[in-house]
């Protein structure tokens, strides 16, 4: 526990001190929200557009932070030998990974709070009603994306390519699943692709809770699909996660 707290404290310091992570991981969804609410007006899903966009940016933030941000952090540390170096210390690897995951969750929680505050400020969006349900949904979403984030690190060979690869996954996923705006007018095939992606189900959960006053457990399908993606990620990660750069 002492080791976990120690590592968590340093993970937070490392995150906020790096301009790349503070801007691209933490700030980007917040900036995008400010931009999108300025151009979208009217209503989405029977609610003011800004409410729906707020839900969309929270979901996008989960993927951007817990999936892409986590994966870039781990790949960069692996490739420059930090993960290998850490393994020679008494810090147990599970404690290390737990601290990294909790740290990224804290970043996501601060991001969500900032999005609600900014929405309030710019567009008078309401505070969330069912806070516990929302927290459960976000925790599940973050966990699922973190599992997938751990899994994908095994398939990224170099630091140089990592942010390109991750953006090629995350940005289209956000468009296809409606995080950036309604998908009603998308071609059928694109909507079908969107319908299997985990972000769609996290977005469903968040919208149900925030826009329509539902509870977490009112969406068992979304919970099941997200949990399945997360488990799939963990299983793949157990087989492919590496602590060292590939030799030669």
């Amino acid at each position: 526990m002492r080791l976990f707290r120690h590592q968590l404290r340093w993970e937070q310091r490392l995150f906020w001190r790096s301009r790349e992570s503070a801007v691209f991981v933490f700030l980007f969804p917040i900036l995008l929200f400010a931009l999108l609410t300025a151009v979208y007006n009217g209503h989405i899903d029977g609610r003011p557009a800004s409410w729906a966009l707020l839900a969309g940016m929270i979901a996008y933030g989960a993927a951007n932070t817990a999936f892409a941000g986590l994966a870039i952090t781990l790949v960069s540390r692996r490739e420059i030998g930090i993960l290998k170096r850490i393994r020679a210390t008494p810090l147990p690897p599970p404690v290390y990974l737990a601290a990294v995951l909790v740290s990224i969750t804290i970043v996501f929680a601060i991001q969500v709070a900032s999005l609600f505050a900014l929405g309030r400020l710019l567009k008078s969006t309401p505070w969330p009603g069912h806070v516990l349900s929302l927290a459960l949904a976000l925790a599940l979403g973050a966990a699922a994306f973190a599992g997938l984030g751990l899994a994908i690190t095994g398939f990224i060979r170099s630091l140089e390519g990592s942010s390109a690869v991750l953006n090629v996954i995350v940005l289209p996923m956000a468009f296809l699943t409606g995080a950036f705006g309604p998908t009603r007018h998308y071609p059928q095939v694109l909507r079908a692709i969107g319908a299997v992606l985990p972000l769609k189900y996290l977005l469903d959960l968040i919208k149900g809770i925030y826009l329509h006053g539902q509870q977490f457990w009112d969406k068992p399908l979304a919970i099941g699909v997200l949990a399945a993606w997360g488990l799939f990620g963990m299983v793949v990660a157990l087989r492919t996660f590496r602590w060292e750069p590939r030799e030669g």
């Binding site: 080791l3 001190r17 030998g81 930090i82 290998k84 020679a88 210390t89 008494p90 147990p92 060292e244």
Partner: protein, 282 residues
Amino acid sequence: MSAISVRDLRKSYGTYEALRGISFEIKEGEVFGLLGPNGAGKTTTIEILEGYRTRDAGDVDVLGFDPERAGSAFRERIGVVLQQSQLWPNLTVAETHRMFAGYYEHPREVDEVIAVVGLAEKRDARVKTLSGGQKRRLDLGVALVGDPDLVFLDEPTTGFDPAARRAAWNMIRSLRSLGKTILLTTHYLDEAEQLADRLAVLREGLIIREGTPAELTGGSSETEIHYRRDGHDVVVRTTEPTRVLHELAAEALAEGRELEGLTVRRPTLEDVYLALTAEQQE
């Protein structure tokens, strides 16, 4: 007491045999050098002893642990400098040390370690602003912060300029005077000769020679005598330098000429090493 004991260690990667059965002992407080060309198996050996790699066969004992199965208690007592690794660019030298110090039960005072590796003036500098040599010293500081009994140094001065190498050597000597056991790999002969109490020469996964630097050079018995005669270089190799030199000198004296450019040299470790590592390639 042995700090490290290795018996018939073997390791293959696919069909490639990286280690073909090596054995050696390292005593407590000793600086042991593993010397050999690239691909000889140095890093494979050191990484098996550090616990990074599994072995295919053989017995390995490091501080009473089997590194393959050892956990935190083992890692409390070792310090590791990897061949290639970097640290967080945005932390300062002191922060990097403090972060690592937190992993150990009984770390050394951070400022003391920073002084030992000669980074006191860079204490509050970000890692990304350090020179290559300073980063390598940071690696060493981080390896020492847990106050290890055994330090692994995998090619600690590769890429250093001569001044930085001298500084690193002095640092390693000061570690030795603290009573630490040190396992050092290098492909620099002068480094092995300067630092190691004993060394093993590794070639193609086998130890081909082992002993103190003096034993290794003494083991090769020939002395070389060079001089010039009528504009030609003459080289005489002999196991009886006293007699041969006496005869040459007597002959020259009798003819009233000088043995121009006379040098008498014992083979250096480099000569021995090059001869040893070249044998197989011929």
